[in-house]
Amino acid sequence: MIESQRHSYHLVDPSPWPISGSLGALATTVGGVMYMHPFQGGARLLSLGLIFLLYTMFVWWRDVLRESTLEGHHTKVVQLGPRYGSILFIVSEVMFFFAFFWASSHSSLAPAVEIGGIWPPKGIGVLDPWEIPFLNTPILPSSGAAVTWAHHAILAGKEKRAVYALVATVLLALVFTGFQGMEYYQAPFTISDSIYGSTFFLATGFHGFHVIIGTLFLIICGIRQYLGHLTKEHHVGFEAAAWYWHFVDVVWLFLFVSIYWWGGI
């Protein structure tokens, strides 16, 4: 039998999305700077850039789904690409968060005289780690357990059960984000209240942002699972979402221990 191609690779078609994504990113950064400084039209350029970026993300990922699920270009060797890509992306995210932990530790281990030589800084009333943060601590890992349940369901070919498990994962994620939102709403300090507020909201804020991205990723996986896109032989998108989710999970544990707990007493 002669196959449709004599190699296992995916030779991609020319695509406008790399350049449209680049232009969107350029408009977003330039527009963002203009918006935050006294320039006219900054908000307009920023919005245009964000719309461009979101549109590019949608159509680019739509094309990847067409090429993989509907056209069968993602052979075993092709699947290695997005796998390594996801892992390296998560490694870069680890470094991103490492910097925030460094900043927080730098300022808290030897508190400067400007903040009273103590941590939390003089005059800052912190959140009690044993209230909402402690309640959130089992919620996010439970969501991580639920995504593992979904993974086992996919590997066992139990398609419906995988959808239920993903729904459970996403619901726990939403509960976590809801609690974080409540906590932010009633926090007694803001991002501009000393180095404590800055490091606290930078680290937990970026974590929350990543939780929201991970939740969207999992929702997409749930929809694709419902549509029958994911098989037990081929579910790279789901695996990437699960890795990402575990990463977000681990970051929370470090946030709880070092920023909420250690940094709050």
Binding site: I2, E3, S4, Q5, R6, H7, S8, L70, E71, G72, H73, H74, T75, K76, G228, T231, K232, E233, H234
Partner: protein, 103 residues
């Protein structure tokens, strides 16, 4: 058979039949001699082959050559013997008339 389409499906089908799709891509085996030449599979009547010599000390820089159907080839460096086995439709590999067809 799991749900799949296109080349991914061909790959999975081949796997279920216990063969690797690109099996012919990595020919290996014992050193080819005149009596028992190294067999290289090909979809067409000729294929570019590289001889790396024998194991360890006997390895040499790769010698590339056209291996043609019905003609054995002896490596000028290590005297390894090669023969082509056509496993596909045969004919010229470039999909259109080969200069060899005209004489």
């Amino acid at each position: 058979m799991p749900i799949a389409t296109g080349h991914e499906k061909e790959e999975l089908e081949a796997e279920l039949e216990g063969r690797r799709l690109l099996d012919i891509d990595f020919p290996e085996g014992p050193f080819g001699t005149k009596e028992a030449p190294a067999i290289v599979k090909s979809y067409y009547d000729k294929r570019i082959v590289g001889c790396p010599g024998g194991e360890g000390e006997d390895e040499h820089d790769v010698v590339w050559f056209w291996l043609e159907k019905g003609k054995s080839f002896e490596c000028p460096v290590c005297t390894q013997y090669f023969e082509l086995e056509v496993v596909g439709p045969g004919g010229p590999p470039d999909g259109h008339g080969d200069e060899d067809d005209h004489h």
